[in-house]
Amino acid sequence: MALPIYASPLERAWHYTYLVICALIFLFLIAPILIIIPLSFNAEAYFTFSEKMLRLDPEGYSLRWYDRLLTFGMVAPDAPRDAAWWSDVWHNASWVRAAKNSLIIGFFATLIATVLGTLAALGLSRPEMPFRRTIMAILISPMIVPIIITATGLFFFYSMVGLAHSYVGIILAHATLGIPFVIITVTATLVGFDQSLNRAAASLGASPTRTFFQVTMPLIMPGVISGALFAFVTSFDEVVVVLFVAAPEQQTIPRQMWNGIREQISPTILAIATILVAISVALLTVLELLRRRSERLRGLSPG
């Protein structure tokens, strides 16, 4: 991207304008996410920077909205903070319950999506796979079909088969929504996979199962894990299907946020949003580490 030495003054001017434009676009991308972080520490119930916050006065900042995340929905939020209080938090606080639901649903949905998705990706990446393109298009379609259509279809279907208002129903739906991501990431990993390694293992006497677990699996693991992370995030962030098919007691974090935004929007939403951003940063870090590991592994393999 360096400016060539023969660039005319006009080109130079354009080059720097271009860099400024790019910087502004990056700002547009990242600023909304960064701006909610300081606002979540607001001492006032406003969604904007107060005078005190701008003066960096410590009084303008507080953890009250994070505290509210714990106390909202508790039986006795004002009791002394001993073991009983924490037990109350664990059992009754709305956000804690939502987090537990989200984690349970996310875990099982990810498990189903990853196991089935990885198996299917292994099949899809074989050259002899029949109807490869059509089947791939069907398996990716949950990502493409508008979520409202999926949710509507599931609403009728689950009412008919008796899965409405059940954890199983939500888990199956979220697994379906996560599958495209697993397929995409794992097939992308398998494109660079050297099939002669499998043949080498077979010629050395390993059974297909042993070959899979000792040769294929370790090499495609980075792809599988990033697919699983995608599937988990998809489930963890999904609100529309939950709104349509879940019972009130199956409150998840996104649904609680949705209600919060629509009804009594308070900076509590910003506190939970900040926590979610922190989780995204952690996930992104894991992904980056995986990508590096994958590159290192590929550097070793001759393919």
Partner: protein
């Protein structure tokens, strides 16, 4: 081997077990195909059951609504047996009144009334009122019904009842494109004040096109920058694209609500900088502007990632060669670089457009009344008006549009070339 004819056994290449090589190869290939398919089969079955079947079932609902025929089978039978336009005779009216009374007893009268009301506004109360008094009505029934409400003599009402008396109907699709049937059953436009759906489809496609264009406008420069910078810088900058991509949709929508509100960060900043007065705060939320800004931000990574993966493969020497042959930098960009990025532009634009057309959450939260898209109306009919068949018909039309675009995407880009980060 027994299955090989003896006269062909000479001069053929054979596998170790004595079978002809050709047969052995074909078998091995069939086995390999079956094995590959068996790996995919569980997932395919899973997706068929949890995704394809529910959606198919919902689509069926868009043409199938048996409310009337289920609750009033005799009246429906009379409609079936008589030609259109027949005046209802006493026998049909007796059946109607008997069923109105029974339905009022069973509290399903509202369902029938609602079903007729979908096609002809203001008729629901007609049914509930008649149901309340049906038990006490005596012959002649025609006069008795007209006595309750003169509307029972309206031929339009009987024509509408005839239309809804069949379980299968295309009327919900007609309603979804602002059409209705008049007295003799021919298709006409609805009154302009009730025509909402075509406008909404149009708005959805226009706003999606605008959002796609904005994403391209913003995505192209940064994808170019990312693709031409040395890897160690571009990997760092890539985080700025990937972090929003990985952040919860609701978090990003909330962030835009915080920024765009009347008392929000942006307006406050503009006021304190003196650019606008305190009374002149810009309305950026609960309208189309809010929907467009927030959705552009949310969908931008889906444009940048495909563009980036195409641009990274473009050899920079082409542009240098063009320059050395005397092209200005603009010409070199327009004639040499830009054409090579077209696959990325196509992939990104199609993906963003497909996702934008079906968007629900962001318009619902920041769109207000004017920024709603077709998905929001489907949700409205599902949750508020409870006209599920109309919701299904609207969903079917939206799905058809999305699948057509998806087919185009598969043809031009290929679903197996989709990249995520």
């Amino acid at each position: 081997m027994a299955d090989i004819p003896a006269d062909q056994s000479a001069g053929i290449m054979r596998a170790a077990d004595g079978r002809p090589l050709k047969v052995a190869l074909a078998r091995a290939q069939t086995r390999a195909r079956r094995r590959a398919f068996l790996l995919v089969a569980p997932l395919l079955f899973f997706v068929l059951v949890t995704f394809v079947v529910p959606i198919g079932q919902m689509l069926h609902r868009s043409v199938h609504n048996p409310t009337f025929v289920d609750n009033m089978p005799q009246v429906a039978a009379w409609f079936r047996d008589t030609p259109a336009g027949t005046e209802p005779d006493e026998a049909a009216l007796a059946a109607l009144i008997a069923y109105l009374a029974a339905a009022a007893e069973a509290r399903t009268i509202g369902a029938v009334g609602t079903r007729v009301n979908y096609e002809m506004q203001g008729t629901r109360s007609l049914f509930t009122a008649a149901g309340r008094r049906a038990g006490r009505l005596e012959a002649p029934y025609r006069e008795a019904l007209l006595d309750i409400d003169a509307k029972w003599g309206d031929p339009a009402l009987w024509s509408t009842m005839r239309q809804v008396s069949t379980a299968y109907t295309a009327n919900f699709y007609l309603a979804a494109v602002d059409r209705t049937r008049d007295l003799d059953g021919s298709v006409t436009r609805v009154a302009p004040d009730r025509a909402v759906y075509l406008t909404l489809f149009q708005r959805t496609f226009l706003l999606s096109a605008l959002i796609t264009f904005l994403c391209l406008l913003l995505g192209f420069p940064i994808a170019h920058l990312l693709a031409t910078l040395p890897l160690r810088y571009s990997n760092l900058l890539m985080i700025l694209v990937l972090l929003p991509f990985w952040t919860s949709l609701l978090v990003r929508t909330t962030a835009w609500m915080v920024i765009l509100q009347g008392q929000g960060v942006l307006n406050n900043a503009l006021v304190s900088l003196g650019i606008i007065g305190d009374t002149g705060r810009v309305e950026l939320m609960y309208n189309q502007a809010g929907t467009v800004i927030a959705m552009t931000h949310i969908l931008l990574p889906f444009m940048v990632l495909p563009l980036y993966s195409v641009m990274r493969t473009i050899n920079p020497s082409y542009v240098r060669a063009a320059r050395s042959l005397g092209a200005t930098s603009w010409t070199a960009f327009r004639r040499v670089y830009l054409p090579q990025t077209l696959p990325g532009i196509g992939a990104g634009s199609l993906l963003v457009f497909i996702l934008a057309v079906g968007y629900y959450i962001t318009p619902a939260l920041v769109g207000g009344a004017s920024g709603q898209l077709i998905s929001n109306l489907i949700a409205f009919h599902m949750q508020n008006s409870l006209n599920w068949s109309l919701a299904a018909a609207l969903a079917a039309l939206l799905l058809a549009a999305v699948l057509a675009l998806y087919w185009l995407y598969d043809r031009l880009v290929g679903v197996d070339n989709m990249k995520l980060g």
